[in-house]
Amino acid sequence: MKPEELAKQEATFNQLTTALLAELKADEQLTIELSGEHSQFVRFNTARVRQTGDITDGQVQLTLMHNQRSSFREFPFVGNWEIDWPEAQAALADLRQEVPQLPSDPYLVLPTGNASSRDVYSGQLLAPEAVAAAVLTDVSGLDFTGIYGGGASIRAYADSAGQRHWFATETFALDYSLFATDGQAVKGTFAGSHWDQSAYGAKLADSKLQLERLATSPKFIPKGQYRTYLAPAAIAELVSMFSWGGVSEAALQQGSSALGLLQRGEKLLSPHFSLTENFGRGLVPRFNELGEVAPLKLPLIADRKLVNTLVSSRTAKEYSKTANGANSSESLRSPDLSPGTLAAAEILNALDTGLYLSNLHYLNWSDRPTGRVTGMTRYACFWVENGEIVAPIENLRFDETIYRCFGDNLLLLTDFQEFIPEVGTYSQRNLGGMWMPGAIVADFTYTL
């Protein structure tokens, strides 16, 4: 997005905010959220372009609160006052009709803070017409598949308490796979805010080296328990489960969290497993749907225990807790798992004999109250004997509890972390990612 277009979006949002708040009656409260993007997508298969296009999107959500009741209206935001203002007026009028019909909500939280912020991060991205050549030239002859997504993203907020936030960033993410002829593959991600062709070349060179390791036929591994190295991307998949019935205080209170055993002290995790919400890297906005700003760092799991949960203001009100700036779904937004002591060069020696897993796939709780999760191995995964890679493996299903693999069976964490970018694009290009080390665990359970 050109700077002048971004400036127009911000000006229109501010104008809309000012005008809406001026319309409010004394006993009404309002929050105004904006989410927008101008994104370029190019999809690849067999080192050719499958689909290419761009998307300009923006949505405003108004939430009106009155007499202990609330409702929202979401509508398109195009950054043009003549179009956006009538939509906003209609939405406010509609909300005023609806809200009195609704039941009273004793846990409704009104915006009360005084936080404001403005963060704008500009990038240096590929021109749309340059993406295909920049990405594909160095993968000629390879079975390269994946997607490039890049562009500007906006998240903004304002409310009747006077809070204002504006977050705009230009980022890209190339999420790709290199396939061998027998279907084995290497996964790679290349993400940031400044496209660097030489850094991309270096990343590709590393992927090509890994691809060579897949040249031998995959080895069948019978089900059982194996000493296992989980690379940072695999750890990220497991830690992602903590956002789905994990560290949420509401989930714990309502019996739908896998961490109930940990909270009640019936289970402990490894002293090496230290999970923190860390906003220090500035990749995602710190404000939530009520304009509240999360602490820069919030330890969640430390010293074997659940030391904090993610508590939204609504949950805090309902269960008499203290809110800590969590979003309404109380999910991880910037997780950071502390590294350990295992050097990269020592991973295979420390593993000795077992499985080296680069990635995991399609995880789901198989028995949430006991913290049991199932999923598949995916991409470059190997059988290792006496510290040497023997062969890639046929994919295996695992079914294991977080209390075992992140508890007594967690042997070592790497002394480095990798940034695993968030490449999801369901309703919009997601922002941020996870900082994760790799880990060696004992007796990881494979079932199929």
Binding site: F41, R43, N45, V49, R50, Q51, T52, G53, D54, I55, T56, D57, Q61, T63, S70, S71, F72, E74, P76, F77, N80, I83, D94, Q101, L102, P103, D105, P106, P128, E129, A132, T145, G146, G149, D175, F179, G183, Q254, G255, S256, E266, Y362, N364, S366, D367, R368, P369, T370, R372, T374, G375, R378, N395, R397, T401, Y403, G424, Y426, T447, L448
Partner: protein, 479 residues
């Protein structure tokens, strides 16, 4: 809208081989209650125009949420540039044969329009549902939700297509969580949002709603003291609300031609099915008959045309166990040279069409419920999905259900909790030994089928009778 889009189309001055404009306006009304208290009330409207331009065999797209003619024209210019820049890298030379001329309309069947109930009325129903679910002090959470979606779609193209389709979609859900110390069990109305249909408020509340809600609450309590599902290989009977997931994951996705062509390998995955398998692969037992059928009235993913204008027809994908055709659009059919179906679908105006399931149904057999269990010496009957995981080639799966019953000597006996099963796709479908008759047939749906890059979540419907599979590995929960 058709005339406005046509005017913009006529005003375009692009040296393109084909241009299509697809406008979508989606209005979603969501009401959610927990423990009898409102959790979320509101309406969301998303609207915009997707422009596709074909140049030198490559389609470029550009989507804008502005309906102003100038914005759509600017999007068309961007789409043209996208196509032109990528054409030298194109994976396949597309032509207008993959964007046929089509004219027609569709409207979902409905009796009571969505304005027949006020937000207050809907909240009353949901609060009463929570109250009805709360059958014991061991119920620690109740929830109920209704989502009414009105989606209008208009499509015009430079080769004369004019399509208008209007969808009324109703998704409802309720459930309860029961807890006794460390034992926690959840039970819902056939799985999360499984009651997803086309239609109006005549679908909800229905006459049986309150009895069903009470039963869901009681079964949540019942599960607290139920035995664990045994770990054994046995006869597995699956209710239609779990067959939905079984069909979806182990038949629908592996038959998508774009997965077989490799488009999805970086995200959703590929498939164990090969192009040479069509017309000859024995996918399952002879009792297995799977249809792609967007013509079923009221099923969640019915339509008359897909999003590139292909007329929708009912087709057998698997007949008497043999793979016949794939879930592939005109683009994928041209690329692979096999038969497909009308399944180029986009989740909204801001995503390009790709190969998707629509309604994918397992056709009924001849066995009544009593026929199915009568000669089962030992078996487990499972209902309602709660956990799902399958590999990227759609081969090794593990699924879990909310509720199960033990079958002993032809009789349904004890309730079982934490029922799970696992297997591999072709082997599992070859173990299909009985297919229930029409009296056991039920239809469900889900709004959350995810795939594609950029990602897209889309609506699908699945109808199935009760089915029996022999010698399947089942197991319970616990660490």
């Amino acid at each position: 809208m058709i005339s406005e889009l046509s005017q913009v189309l006529e005003s375009l001055d692009l040296p393109a081989d084909w241009v299509g404009l697809r406008a979508v306006k989606e209005a979603v009304d969501i009401r959610r209650v927990r423990d009898g208290l409102p959790q979320r009330n509101g309406k969301s409207t998303s609207a915009g125009v997707m422009v596709e331009v074909l140049v030198n065999g490559q389609i470029g797209y550009s989507a804008t949420n502005s309906f102003q003619a100038a914005s759509i024209k600017a999007a068309a210019a961007l789409a043209y540039q996208q196509a032109l820049a990528a054409s030298q890298w194109a994976i396949y030379p597309l032509t207008t044969a993959q964007r046929p001329k089509v004219v027609g309309e569709y409207c979902s069947p409905f009796l009571k329009p969505f304005d027949a109930l006020t937000p207050g009325d809907i909240n009353q129903v949901l609060v009463r549902l929570c109250d009805t679910l709360n059958v014991s002090d061991r119920i620690v959470q109740t929830n109920a939700m209704a989502i009414a979606n009105e989606t209008d779609s208009w499509f015009v193209s430079s080769n004369g297509s004019e399509v208008y389709q209007r969808f009324l979609l109703l998704e409802t859900h309720f459930g309860a969580t029961a807890q006794d110390g460390a034992i926690v069990q959840q039970r819902s109305n056939n799985g999360y949002l499984a009651h997803s249909y086309q239609g109006g408020w005549e679908l909800f509340p229905d006459a049986n709603l309150w009895n069903r809600a009470r039963q869901v609450g009681e079964q949540a309590i019942e599960l607290l003291t139920a035995e664990e599902c045994p770990t054994t290989a046995t006869t597995l009977l699956l209710a239609p609300d779990q067959m939905m997931l079984q069909i979806h994951e182990s038949v629908g996705h592996p038959l998508e031609l774009d997965r077989i062509l490799g488009d999805e390998r970086n995200y959703a995955g590929g498939s164990f099915v090969k192009p040479s398998d069509f017309g000859q692969l024995s996918y399952g037992s002879k009792l297995m008959n799977i249809t792609f059928d967007p013509t079923v009235e009221g099923e969640f993913a019915s339509y008359r045309f897909d999003d590139i204008g292909t007329p929708a027809t009912r087709e057998y994908l698997i007949q008497e166990g043999v793979l016949q055709r794939g879930l592939g659009s005109l683009e994928s059919q041209a690329r692979m040279g096999v038969d497909g179906v009308a399944c180029a679908r986009a989740s909204s105006w801001n995503r390009p069409p790709i190969d998707r399931m629509a309604n994918l149904n397992l056709e009924p057999g001849t066995d009544s419920w009593q026929d199915m269990i009568g000669d089962v010496e030992h078996g487990v009957y499972m209902e309602a999905n709660r956990s799902w995981s399958i590999d990227d080639r759609r081969y090794k799966f593990q699924f879990g259900c909310e509720y199960a019953k033990l079958i002993e000597n032809g009789q349904v006996t004890k309730t079982l909790r934490n029922p799970n099963y696992r297997g591999t796709t072709p082997e599992f479908w070859h173990r299909l030994v009985k297919v229930g008759d029409r009296s056991t047939w039920e239809i469900y749906g889900t709004p959350y089928c995810g795939k594609g890059e950029p990602n897209q979540a889309i609506r699908v419907g699945h109808g199935s009778p009760v089915c029996a599979f022999e010698n399947v590995e089942v197991f319970g929960g616990g660490a």
